[in-house]
C-alpha cells in the first residue's frame, strides 16, 4: 500500500559492480578525464601563475566619468613608511584572469549538491529554500557598505534592523530580552551558558555541573566544558525523552543548569519541558534550550511559556539565511527576565522617544542607570563589533515576508512533511520512536533490519546515486545507525514522493544485502574517499612551489 504507483525505473535496473574491463557500464575512458558535463578541475595552484592577475589598477592615469583617459600628473611617489618590514621575498600566491577565475569556480560549483538542486534532508540542519529577496536586501548599500564604527547618527537604519529583528525574536519566543551578537549557534550556546554563570556568580552561588542529555548535539557539552562546567548525562526514558524523575533525583545545589534541545534531536517534542523547568528553577538552576529546531514550533508554542531561561536561534536554520557550504551563521540568544541583565555588549535598545541606541562598553553603566534602574550588568563582549548584520537583514526580510501567520504555517508544513516521510517509510525502515506518536520536523530511523554487513553509510552513499544528499547519519548517538531526515517546509508533495521512492528503494537494497551498495556512489564526481589516509598523513595545503609562467599544467596537457 505504500508502494509508489509510478516509478521512474520500471525495469528495476540497479547499478552493478563495475568489473575490470567492463566498459559497457561506465563507457570508455576519455583523453581529458572529463565526462561530458562532469568536468574535472585542477587545483588553483596548478593553473595559476604568480605573474597573472585578474585585477587592474589605475595608477597614473584615471579615466574620467565619460571613460576617456585624462593624463593627470601623478603625485610624486612618497617615501615608504614600511621600514625594515618591507617584503622582499615572494608570498607564493598565484592568480588567474577574470574569465579563468569564473570558470575555475563555476566548474568547482558543479561538483556540489545544494538545496537549489534538490531536497537536502539533513536532520537538525534545516536545509530550507533561501529566498533571493534576502540576498538582494543584504546587498543594499546602506547595509552592505557601512562600517561598524561609523558615528551612530550615520547608521540609525542598521540599528533599527537589529532592534526590529530583536523585537520579533523576543515575541516569537515569549522571552524577555535577546543578545544579538553571537556569530553562530555554538557561539550563542556559549553566550547563554555564560549568562547563566554570570547570574549565578552575581548571587554568590557558583555551581559546577551542567546536565546534558546524550542525544544532544556535540556543541552542547563542548560549550559547557569551555565555560568551565563539568558535564553529566541526563537519562532518557523509553520513548527517547528526558526522564523527568531521574532528572529530578539528580538536581541539587551543585547543578547550574540543564541544556535541553526542544524539539529534541530525536525529532520529538519534550512534553515535560515545563515540569523540567519548574524542577530546575526550584533548586536555583537555569534552563538552557538548544533552539536549533525552533523551526518546528515557531508560531505554535513559545519557549518562554515553558520556563526556558536562554535559547539560541540559528538564523541560518529557522530563518533561512544561507548555509553557504558551512557558514556564516548567526546565533542570537533570547533570555528570560532573570538572565537578560547579564547579556553581553553591545546591545541595542529603543527608548521611549523611538530612538534606537547602541550600548557599548563606554555607556553601558550610565545607560543601565538611566533606563534600567542599574539592573544591567553585562558579562563582557563575545566578538568585535555588533554581530552578523548581513544575516540580520536576511532574517528580517524572511520574517517580514512570512509574518505571524506565515511563520506558523512554516512550522505546520515542516512538521507535516516530516510526518509524511515517517509514515511513508516506517514499513521499510525501523523508526524507533514512531510508536510514541507524531514526530516534529524530522523523522528518525535506525539501521535495524539491514542485512549483515550493511550500514547506514552504505545506504547514504546509495542515496547519492539516486540524486540526493543523504540525511544526517549516526546522529543522534543514542540510536544505532541513526538516520535523521528533515525535509523542511519548502518541499512540495511531489518532491517528497520522489524522495520517498528513492529512499524506499535504497532501504530495500540494504535489507536485501545488495553488495553494490558497499561501493556506492557510482555516479558522483568522486567515489568513496579514503578518510583514513587523509587523517593518517594529513595534507592540508598545496606544498609545491607554483610553476613559472608559461609552464603547461595538467589540464593543458590532458593529464588526469
Amino acid at each position: 500500500m505504500n508502494a509508489p504507483t509510478k516509478t521512474p525505473n520500471a525495469s528495476g535496473w540497479k547499478p552493478g559492480t563495475p568489473v575490470e574491463g567492463d566498459k559497457a557500464m561506465s563507457g570508455p575512458d576519455t583523453a581529458t578525464g572529463n565526462r561530458a558535463l562532469m568536468l574535472e578541475e585542477p587545483l588553483l595552484f596548478e593553473i595559476g601563475h604568480s605573474e597573472t592577475t585578474g585585477v587592474d589598477f589605475d595608477f597614473a592615469a584615471k579615466p574620467d566619468l565619460a571613460g576617456v583617459e585624462q593624463p593627470s600628473p601623478p603625485t610624486p611617489a612618497p617615501t615608504s613608511r614600511l621600514g625594515s618590514f618591507e617584503r622582499s621575498e615572494p608570498i607564493g600566491l598565484v592568480g588567474l584572469t577574470e574569465p579563468e577565475t569564473v570558470r575555475h569556480y563555476t566548474r568547482l560549483s558543479r561538483q556540489n549538491y545544494a538545496i537549489d538542486l534538490g531536497l537536502f534532508p539533513l536532520g537538525s540542519c534545516t536545509m530550507k529554500h533561501n529566498p533571493r529577496l534576502n540576498e538582494k536586501v543584504a546587498r543594499m548599500p546602506g547595509f552592505a557598505d557601512v562600517h561598524p564604527l561609523q558615528p551612530v547618527d550615520t547608521v540609525r537604519g542598521a540599528l533599527e534592523v537589529i532592534n526590529e529583528l530583536a523585537f520579533w525574536l523576543i515575541h516569537l519566543t515569549g522571552m524577555h530580552g535577546v543578545a544579538m551578537s553571537p556569530k553562530a549557534g555554538a557561539h550563542g550556546e556559549l553566550c547563554g551558558i555564560l549568562c547563566i554563570r554570570a547570574a549565578l556568580e552575581a548571587r554568590g552561588d557558583a555551581r559546577k555541573v551542567i546536565l546534558v542529555p546524550e542525544s544532544a548535539h556535540g556543541t552542547n557539552p563542548a560549550t559547557a566544558a569551555f565555560a568551565g562546567y563539568e558535564i553529566e548525562d541526563i537519562p532518557a526514558n523509553s520513548d527517547g525523552r528526558v526522564d523527568l524523575d531521574a532528572l529530578k533525583s539528580r538536581l541539587g545545589p551543585d547543578v547550574a543548569g540543564v541544556m535541553i534541545t526542544n524539539p529534541s534531536t530525536l525529532g520529538l517534542f519534550e512534553r515535560d519541558l515545563k515540569a523540567i523547568s519548574d524542577a530546575v528553577h526550584e533548586v536555583g538552576g537555569f534552563v538552557y534550550c538548544d533552539g536549533a529546531n525552533f523551526n518546528a514550533i515557531v508560531g505554535k508554542v513559545r519557549p518562554g511559556d515553558l520556563g526556558v531561561d536562554a535559547m539560541h536561534i540559528n538564523l541560518h536554520k529557522t530563518f533561512s539565511t544561507p548555509h553557504g557550504g558551512g557558514g556564516p551563521g548567526s546565533g542570537p540568544v533570547v533570555l528570560s527576565e532573570a538572565l537578560s541583565p547579564f547579556a553581553p555588549l553591545p546591545y541595542t535598545s529603543r527608548t521611549k522617544d523611538g530612538v534606537v541606541h547602541l550600548v557599548e562598553e563606554e555607556d553601558a553603566d550610565s545607560f543601565s542607570e538611566e533606563h534600567f534602574g542599574g539592573r544591567m550588568q553585562h558579562f563582557g563582549r563575545m566578538t568585535a563589533f555588533h554581530g552578523q548584520m548581513g544575516m540580520f537583514t536576511r532574517a528580517l526580510s524572511y520574517i517580514l515576508s512570512h509574518g505571524a501567520d506565515g511563520l506558523r504555517q512554516v512550522a505546520e508544513d515542516a512538521v507535516l512533511n516530516a510526518n509524511y516521510i515517517l509514515r511513508s517509510l516506517e514499513d521499510v525502515l525501523d523508526a524507533p520512536f514512531a510508536h510514541s506518536g507524531p514526530c516534529m520536523h524530522e523523522a528518525l530511523f535506525s539501521d535495524k533490519g539491514f542485512a549483515e554487513g550493511m550500514s547506514t553509510l552504505d545506504l547514504a552513499k546509495g542515496l547519492i546515486d539516486e540524486g540526493y544528499h543523504p540525511m544526517t547519519m549516526y546522529f543522534p548517538l543514542v540510536v544505532h545507525g541513526a538516520m535523521l531526515v528533515e525535509p523542511t517546509e519548502t518541499e512540495s508533495k511531489a518532491a517528497l514522493d520522489q524522495f520517498i521512492l528513492a529512499l524506499r528503494s535504497v532501504a530495500e537494497r540494504a535489507k536485501a544485502g545488495d553488495e553494490t551498495l558497499k561501493t556506492a556512489p557510482f555516479y558522483a564526481p568522486r567515489r568513496r574517499l579514503d578518510e583514513t589516509q587523509a587523517a593518517r598523513k594529513p595534507v592540508l595545503a598545496y606544498k609545491e612551489q607554483s610553476a613559472p609562467a608559461g609552464t603547461p599544467v595538467a589540464s593543458e596537457v590532458g593529464g588526469r
Binding site: 585585477v55 548555509h323 563582557g380 512538521v415
Partner: protein, 455 residues
C-alpha cells in the same frame, strides 16, 4: 505564501496518509496550555516581496553608505574594492545553498575551494597550515589564546596582551578568560611613534603561555615581531600574531616568516565587504605542523577516492565537538564558509602580482594622506611606520570632531575615544585608514575639513 509549495489539497491528502485528523493532531505532544491557538498577537501578517523590499530599503537609506562619503575608517574593518565576479560566484546556488561538506563525494566543489583557501592563507601568513576559517578575527584571537593554554597544559596561565591590540579583541579575550582561569595581562597603547616592543617583552615571564601582538597594530604601527618572538621563545612562551588587514601582507613580511607561532586575523578586507561588522572571516594558522592537532575548527585535507582519483575531505575531526564532545579543542561548528569562498575568489583574482600592487597602492595613498594631513595646523602624525592606517593627534577631542565632520559627509576615521572610551590621554587620537578606494580628492576633502574645524 510564496515560499510554501504545499496546497490545501496536498495537506489534506498527507494528513489522510498519516492518519491524522488535522494539523493539531501532529502537535499533540505540546502541552495544551502552551499551544497557541492562532498567529501571535501584535505581530504583522505576511507581506509581498515588494512591500518587504520597500520597508528594508527605507531602513537602508537611513544609513550613510561608505561610498557616499569621503571615507577613512579602519580599525579592523576596511573598505576595499571587491571585483564583481566575486559576488557572482558566491551567489551560485551550488555554493550559497550547500551545507558543510560532510558527504565529500558530492561536495568536492566546497572542499577543493577550502583546500585552496587554506593554502592561500597559510602562504599569506607564512605558516604551514591554516584551518577552514573561524567566525571573525576577534574570536580567532581568543581561540588562539585558548590553544596556547592547551599547549602549555595549564602549567602557564598568564596571557600577555600588547596594549596596541584591537580593544574589542582584547575585550573578547578578557571576557572569555573570566571563565577559564587564564590570567590576562593587558595594557593601554602608548602614543609613541614606534610600538613599545621592549615594554611588551618586559612583561613576558616564565609563567607566560603566550604573548599576543597585533601587526600592524591598532595605531597602524609595525611592531618588531622577530624581536618579540625571540624573547618569548626564550621564556617558553608562544607568540600569537594578530593581523586585521590582510592586504598589508602584500607589502610587509608575514608574521610567520618573522617567527610568530600562531597567526590569526580578520580576512574581511579581501572579498567580504564592510557589512556593519559581520559576517566577517576569521583566519587561523600555525607556523609549525606539529601544532595541527591542537587547532580549533575544521580542516580540509587531500586524499584519494576508491578509483585513486585525487579528492578532498574534512579531516582530523577527532579534535572537533561532533566527535569529541566536551573534550573538543573548541565548540565551533558553523564557521564562515561563504566568506572564505569570497576571500579565496578575490585572492585568486589578485594573485601574487595583484596583491602586491594593491598593497603598494594602499601604502602610496596612505603616505600621501599622512604627508598632506601633517601640513594641517593642529594635526600631528604619530607613526614612524605604517601600512595603510596611521594615527593623527588633533588639537581637540577627536570624537567630537569626527561627529561634526559627518555633517559634511566626511567619515574622518575612528577616534581613539570610541575605541578606548574614558581614557583622556587618548582622546585626541584619530585613526585614519586609506585604501585604493580613497581618492586624492577625498584626502584633500578631509584635510580641508580638518583645517576648517581646527581653525
Amino acid at each position: 505564501m510564496r515560499y510554501l509549495p504545499l496546497t490545501d489539497t496536498d495537506r489534506s491528502a498527507m494528513l489522510a496518509k498519516i492518519g491524522a485528523s488535522d494539523i493539531d493532531a501532529l502537535f499533540v505532544d505540546v502541552p495544551e496550555e502552551a499551544r497557541l491557538s492562532g498567529p501571535i498577537e501584535g505581530l504583522p501578517m505576511h507581506a509581498s516581496e515588494m512591500a518587504v523590499e520597500k520597508h528594508m530599503r527605507r531602513l537602508s537609506k537611513k544609513n550613510l553608505a561608505a561610498a557616499d562619503a569621503a571615507f577613512f575608517l579602519g580599525a579592523g574593518a576596511y573598505k576595499h574594492h571587491v571585483p564583481a565576479s566575486v559576488d557572482h560566484i558566491i551567489q551560485r546556488g551550488e555554493f550559497l545553498t550547500a551545507y558543510t561538506p560532510y558527504q565529500p563525494e558530492i561536495a568536492q566543489g566546497t572542499l577543493q575551494m577550502l583546500f585552496e583557501f587554506q593554502t592561500q592563507v597559510a602562504r599569506l601568513y607564512g605558516c604551514a597550515v591554516a584551518n577552514a576559517s573561524m567566525y571573525d578575527g576577534s574570536t580567532a584571537c581568543w581561540e588562539a589564546v585558548a590553544m596556547a593554554s592547551r599547549i602549555a597544559r595549564g602549567k602557564k596561565r598568564k596571557v600577555v596582551l600588547s596594549g596596541a591590540l584591537h580593544p574589542h579583541y582584547a575585550e573578547v579575550v578578557r571576557t572569555m578568560a573570566k571563565f577559564t582561569d587564564d590570567e590576562i595581562a593587558g595594557a593601554l597603547p602608548s602614543l609613541t611613534a614606534k610600538p613599545d616592543d621592549d615594554g611588551l617583552i618586559a612583561r613576558i615571564d616564565g609563567d607566560t603561555s603566550c604573548v599576543v601582538v597585533q601587526y600592524p597594530d591598532i595605531l597602524g604601527r609595525l611592531p618588531d615581531i622577530a624581536k618579540i618572538a625571540e624573547a618569548a621563545h626564550e621564556q617558553g612562551a608562544l607568540v600569537i600574531a594578530v593581523n586585521t588587514e590582510p592586504v598589508a601582507l602584500g607589502a610587509v613580511k608575514s608574521p610567520g616568516e618573522l617567527g610568530a607561532d600562531i597567526v590569526v586575523g580578520e580576512g574581511q578586507s579581501i572579498g567580504v565587504g564592510l557589512q556593519f561588522g559581520g559576517p566577517y572571516l576569521g583566519l587561523f594558522a600555525v607556523r609549525d605542523e606539529k601544532y595541527v592537532r591542537m587547532m580549533p575548527g575544521r580542516l580540509c585535507g587531500e586524499t584519494v577516492d576508491a578509483e585513486g582519483k585525487r579528492g578532498f575531505v574534512l579531516t582530523l575531526s577527532t579534535r572537533e565537538q561532533h566527535i569529541r564532545r566536551e573534550k573538543a579543542t573548541s565548540n565551533i561548528c558553523t564557521n564562515s564558509g561563504l566568506c572564505a569562498l569570497a576571500f579565496s575568489v578575490h585572492m585568486t583574482l589578485l594573485g601574487e602580482k595583484g596583491l602586491r600592487q594593491l598593497a603598494m597602492e594602499n601604502h602610496r595613498l596612505a603616505c600621501i594622506a599622512a604627508d598632506r594631513l601633517a601640513k594641517v595646523s593642529g594635526v600631528e602624525v604619530l607613526n614612524d611606520s605604517f601600512f595603510n592606517e596611521f594615527t593623527v593627534l588633533l588639537g581637540g577631542d577627536a570624537r567630537q570632531i569626527v561627529r561634526k565632520l559627518t555633517k559634511q559627509d566626511v567619515l574622518a576615521g575612528v577616534s581613539l575615544g570610541r575605541l578606548f572610551p574614558g581614557n583622556e590621554a587618548l582622546a585626541n587620537g584619530l585613526l585614519v585608514a586609506v585604501t585604493e578606494t580613497t581618492t586624492e580628492e577625498d584626502i584633500e576633502t578631509l584635510a580641508s575639513a580638518l583645517e576648517e574645524v581646527l581653525a
